[in-house]
């Protein structure tokens, strides 16, 4: 484990068990469930320094640090979370939980359904962003956190932040919404459905019951990830990174094995993914993305949907992100402004597409630093 000075070091995931039934948006109910989570830093005496991190489609509660001394890669947001980093664990108590329906420790389709003794598989109910926020609110109670200094998330995580701000306005002081959207576009839903079709038409899918057959729709999940990955990068970045370079050869062999660098790169990404991710979880997460649309109950008026939010907001988008474009973030900013809420908005110049929110980019880091400093000033008082 390459442990840099500003790492949170080795972290251990924890499990919180819940046995009061959770009524879901889809009319399903989870009678009991567990949430896997990690924490970094120390909760202060008056519990005013807690930050909740909400994760995106393919990540989990392991946001920072390492799981063991031999762990090669750090948590998914390790560039931003750690001592002295923008999300400063010297000052804040940082919590990240795995979403319900996930595959990294929280109850999900691969978990055992207590009423059958078998994995849930296709019986796992569809969960929505609102359901996740409900479960996270229960985790907050469990951890004794009445109010979060901030709830922070990128992409699908940003949707959870928006939901938090309206469902529990009194339970967060600040909301940081990064590379996100208040609803997906038709194009975006289209991409998600292609991914789902890749999984669901894999002969190994067995209608979602593949655990029973001791197999998994690896090919479908791989294609889904390859497609997703393309959409998370920008055209320019792919052109610069791969261009039309061939793989260890100068000329075409006129065959179907991967010849272009970009082909082998995407296949590699797909292969890495199928080893750590469950196809049923991928299906659930993409559905949650598609359904999210808080304005739908207010004749499409997002300003109305956010009317009872009271938090101060930071909204961040990235210039080359076409999957969650800057215009989607602007819609959120406009809606917040129409409610005269405190909001700052940064549009970060970056070639890295949607994945930018995971990276260290000077302007992005500066803005996050400045904003979280402000939170520290307000929430931690003079001894911050």
């Amino acid at each position: 484990m390459p442990e840099p000075l500003n790492s949170v070091g080795i972290v251990e995931p924890q499990i919180a068990e819940f046995d009061s039934p959770l009524q879901l948006t889809s009319s399903g109910v989870l009678n009991q469930y567990s949430l896997a989570y990690e924490t970094y830093g120390e909760l202060n005496a008056n519990r005013s320094n807690a930050l909740l991190i909400c994760h995106a489609l393919s990540s989990d509660h392991h946001a920072a640090g390492f799981h063991s001394k031999t762990d090669k890669s750090a948590g998914w947001w390790d560039l931003l979370i750690g001592p002295g980093k923008p999300i400063d664990t010297n000052r804040f108590f940082v919590v990240c939980s795995n979403n319900l329906g996930g595959c990294s420790g929280s109850t999900g389709p691969a978990s055992i359904n207590p009423s059958t003794g078998q994995p849930y598989g296709p019986d796992f109910p569809i969960v929505t962003v609102a359901d996740w926020v409900e479960s996270q609110a229960r985790l907050s109670d469990y951890l004794g956190i009445e109010q979060w200094a901030a709830v922070i998330g990128g992409s699908l995580g940003g949707m959870q932040v928006l939901q938090w701000s309206t469902t529990y306005p009194n339970r967060l002081k600040h909301a940081i919404v990064i590379a996100s959207a208040a609803k997906l576009t038709a194009q975006n839903i289209g991409f998600n459905d292609v991914a789902r079709q890749a999984i669901r038409t894999d002969p190994d899918f067995h209608n979602g019951d593949y655990y029973k057959h001791n197999t998994r729709p690896a090919r479908g999940l791989r294609v889904a990830r390859m497609l997703g990955h393309i959409t998370y990068l920008s055209d320019d970045l792919m052109a610069n990174k791969f261009g039309r370079s061939l793989r260890q050869k100068a000329k075409f062999d006129y065959e179907f094995s991967p010849e272009f660098e970009v082909e082998s790169y995407l296949r590699y990404q797909g292969d890495q993914f199928i080893d750590r991710f469950d196809a049923n979880t991928y299906l659930l997460m993409t559905k949650a993305l598609d359904y999210f649309d808080p304005a739908a109950d207010y004749e499409g008026r997002l300003g109305k949907a956010l009317a009872n939010a009271t938090a101060d907001f930071l909204v961040v988008s990235f210039s080359s992100d076409w999957r969650f474009s800057t215009e989607r973030s602007r819609e959120i900013v406009r809606a917040l402004q129409s409610n005269k809420l405190n909001v700052s908005y940064a549009e970060i110049e970056s070639p890295h597409g949607h994945d930018s929110f995971l990276l260290e980019i000077d302007h992005y880091t500066q803005v996050m630093h400045a904003y979280i400093n402000r939170i520290a000033g307000e929430c931690l008082g003079a001894n911050s």
Binding site: L314, R330, V333, R334, Q337, S338, K340, N342, V343, S344, Y345, A346, E347, I348, E349, H363, Q366, V367, H369, A370, Y371, N373, R374
Partner: protein, 207 residues
């Protein structure tokens, strides 16, 4: 404030004038807000709410540091991102002269706000006149330190020009003051502001 002009921002005296034109507890937008110092001042002295608008990435974090809401936006693309009649006052300070379409922006200011406040370097200031009249060169001064070929200040105007445009656009001039960078006041400044005023400060609204 910004790097368009040599002098960084408004003097305390200028801030005070703008402050007097802004109602307590009103909703304000500051276009080209730089590091947010003007809004910070107005938040402190007038308890205003509102937003700064700035394009320069380096200024965004500074605004946040200053406790000012900032929306990163290119003003040359207009104010389409802002709702109509959302603000009591919209301020454009020392930025008008660098805009691609000043007229459109002025129109937009009174679409989103009830009153506008504009400050700009008065091109008819006597030192500028002297440089053209006697030297035959485009004026270069402490205030406008650029050469004609590299200046970001592409739409310089005089106080008279601005009044004429307001007339043409159907705006009512509520107040018009010319000031000296030094804060000096004199009879000349009061009698012939277009000649002796270095910075113009103008408040206007819809007729």
């Amino acid at each position: 404030m910004n790097k368009l002009l040599n002098n960084q921002g408004l003097s305390r005296h200028d801030l005070q004038i703008i402050s007097e034109w802004v109602s307590p507890n009103s909703h304000v937008m500051d276009l080209g807000c730089g590091n947010g110092s003007l809004l910070k001042h107005l938040q402190k002295t007038k308890q205003v709410t509102g937003y700064g608008v700035e394009l320069n990435p380096e200024m965004i974090a500074e605004c946040i540091d200053n406790g000012v809401n900032v929306i990163q936006t290119n003003l040359d693309q207009g104010l389409g991102h802002f709702h109509s009649n959302a603000f009591d006052t919209v301020i454009l300070s020392l930025t008008l002269q660098a805009m691609r379409n000043p007229r459109t922006l002025l129109e937009e200011m009174l679409r989103v706000g009830k009153q506008g406040i504009v400050t700009f370097p008065n091109f008819a200031y006597w030192r500028n006149r002297m440089q053209i009249a006697l030297g035959g060169f485009m004026p270069v001064s402490k205030e406008l330190p650029y050469k004609w070929y590299n200046t970001p200040n592409i739409h310089l105007c005089t106080i008279k020009d601005f009044h004429a445009l307001c007339e043409e656009m159907g705006f009512r001039i509520e107040s018009s003051i010319a000031v000296h960078r030094s804060g000096k006041e004199g009879l000349g400044l009061r009698l012939i502001p277009n000649l002796f005023g270095e910075i113009a400060m103008i408040r206007f609204s819809k007729k």
